[in-house]
Symmetry: C3
Subunit: 200 residues, 3 copies
């Protein structure tokens, strides 16, 4: 089950990368690279900073195949992909929730302090998109749409608190991922954003 | 003493990140990230390239708290922060001097050759700002205001030369940091820059 | 022989960085950094992701001297360098071929799967230019001129196939590097590009 969700997450992230790369009119190679960093960039950065190398996609070629497949799919069905936007958004949101908790877990395994684990959760979920935007020469979109990151922050904190309360890991995992997903869905549905810090 | 200067350096770098992020009208999350990379980016890159992981801020959560505090401060006192510019510039300059020598020391500890140690000193002091500018979609400001990096270069070389001359480490440290600080202050005060390489 | 080609490759990459940095009117320090990342960025990224640190140029200061020399040369002979464009293009192409096979070899040594080794070959040859373009605030040029990367892909695959066929390493090395070089030269000479994925 988890394995399938992980796969969905990677594919959803990859396709979101394909869409951005195509809007920049990149060639097939550029599209593939953008898909790749969108899907793996956050986890890759996390692993390098912790020192857990070779990074995950090098240990398991399945990721390379998946992202390659998603890129070919995205290129072939470019015009049809608009119909899939809702499903993609859902996969993407599930992926974010999942990546957040996986990031926190990695931090705990490495024996790091709670605030660091939360940072790693947010990094895993958000920095694929940050690297994608840098490669596309844009200011990362996440720096001005904060609910995305805030959802990860709340989910990551929730996981650590429930862990402290000795909630079984499986249940904790599901609850925390759901927290991320629900916050993001509700925020997008009702257009909720943090108050601006700019008066003018 | 050193500890306090280190803290001042981190805070000064973080606040300089807050100011840049606000000029790009980022949201609170974006501002926090920019503050974070400005303060830790140079040392983080250095540690990753040497292979000294997990990187420093993961081992000591104090950095996370400091940067979080500096970000909140910078957002709350946005309009007042202009009065602090001179103090900030001073902290920033002290931070640069300190980071330079710390970077050189790290290289020596890892058994690297002198020119590599100098590179690591410059990297530690300057690349937080470089990553900040990349995330803000600007050409790094340091690439066209070279005295900043030149000061680090001279300070780092000074440290290695005095080490060779068997000057005690404490005294060497203070002298080399002061060299960086004085070069930068004098250069800014008298608007000194290297001659341009462009005729037209 | 190999050593000389490696040196030519580094110098050619560094000078291509100098040319780009000068077109952005950077100061001498900025030019040096761009030359540095262009020549070492791909290999540096590869080594960090595999976990083979300290990265190569830290272990051998010759790279630092070479790049420094190439930068000084590029700045001094800025106006004359146009006459060298053909030679530079040739060195650059040889460098790409060489870096590709070295990257594949590194992956094999680390015990990674074939598709990962191919990715590492492409990364070694192409990502110096990608990081250069990011620092210069451009969308990486390689994302819209794909023959460059395609040549690396074919050369890397060729190396793995010939290895499987028990072709002696020396011969395999020469053949695979030549494959990259010839594909690139032919593609540039006859203006060959992959078909566009955009209809409009």
């Amino acid at each position: 089950m988890l394995y399938f969700i992980d796969i969905f997450g990677v594919v959803a992230f990859a396709i979101s990368g394909v869409l951005v790369a195509q809007s920049k009119r990149m060639d097939p190679f550029g599209i593939l690279i953008i898909a790749f960093v969108t899907a793996t960039g956050g986890g890759m950065l996390r692993d390098v900073l912790i020192g857990d190398t070779p990074v995950i996609w090098m240990k398991n070629p399945v990721y390379v195949y998946l992202i390659f497949g998603a890129t070919v799919f995205g290129i072939l069905f470019r015009s049809k992909i608009d119909y899939l936007r809702t499903s993609l958004f859902l996969f993407d949101t599930i992926g974010i929730g999942l990546y957040t908790v996986i990031g926190v877990e990695k931090g705990l395994t490495a024996g790091l302090a709670p605030p660091i684990c939360i940072s790693l959760g947010i990094m895993s979920a958000c920095f694929g998109g940050v690297i994608r935007d840098i490669l596309c020469n844009e200011i990362p979109v996440i720096f001005s749409r904060e609910i995305y990151a805030t959802a990860c922050f709340v989910g990551a904190s929730c996981y650590l608190i429930l862990l402290k309360l000795h909630v079984p890991t499986n249940i904790n995992f599901v609850i925390s991922v759901l927290v991320v997903i629900i916050i993001r869905l509700v925020a997008v549905r009702f257009k909720i954003a943090l108050p601006s810090v700019y008066k003018d």
